[in-house]
Symmetry: C2
Amino acid sequence: MNIGTASAHTGVSAKMIRYYEEIGLVPKPLRRDSGYRDYGEADVHRLRFIHRARELGFSIERIRDLLRLWNDRRRPSREVKKVAQEHIADLEAQIARMHGLLATLKHLANSCEGNSRPHCPILEGLSRG
Amino acid sequence: MNIGTASAHTGVSAKMIRYYEEIGLVPKPLRRDSGYRDYGEADVHRLRFIHRARELGFSIERIRDLLRLWNDRRRPSREVKKVAQEHIADLEAQIARMHGLLATLKHLANSCEGNSRPHCPILEGLSRG
DNA sequence: CTTGACCTTCCCATGATGGGAAGGTTTATA
DNA sequence: TATAAACCTTCCCATCATGGGAAGGTCAAG
């Protein structure tokens, strides 16, 4: 099938499919005489895998690792679990950091009357800290 | 003072100070005969403001808005509060989204034995979804 | 005077996801 | 058969914020 069809079947845009091919995340597909890319079921299956992994927030590099493990019938599952757990740890660290930001921001915002007068503790907080 | 000194006094790297000047976030400073930038106290004060706002995760565009409000002695505080609250809402939405990802990821990871055997529900989840 | 630190501008990179131009190919319909 | 729209190709650029580094000029201390 053509790239547009592969895109429709996988949720990955044609642009991203070409990008993934360029960065070596997916193999180059067969080509028709016209020069059009010709995708098979295995290609589509792989792109779906990538799409789901992206949806879960895995970076391209981590997806590269996951694809390698997926291809390796003998992979130890602890290696897969490790990739997932690192990703989980990253997400948790980001959330924690954001909570810290939120605490400060909410404190500032709640100190602000939010009216027509110019006095504002948010600006004071930023200018003095 | 020179850019290096301004950088040290504000926590903003020299590179970023030049970038902020280029994108019009800060005005062009005076120059010495040598061509070196010459920063005054007002410049430094502004860069500190920017630095604190970046630390709180405000985007450059939102900082542009905040700087405008900071300069405006007559700004109504509700406009400042609005910028802050939009930022808060963005952060909260991001956190919520990440929690959703975490739930799925943890479920997958917890279903994985993480041993030497190849069977892994994480890969299955990604390949089938 | 010399040398190292500092400064300048310019060009490129990062990660993931596009937009769009220029031109070729396919497909359905009249 | 002709046409037009949809699809496809490669190429170049942009996004956001933050750099690295090259090439070359300036400053300041020893």
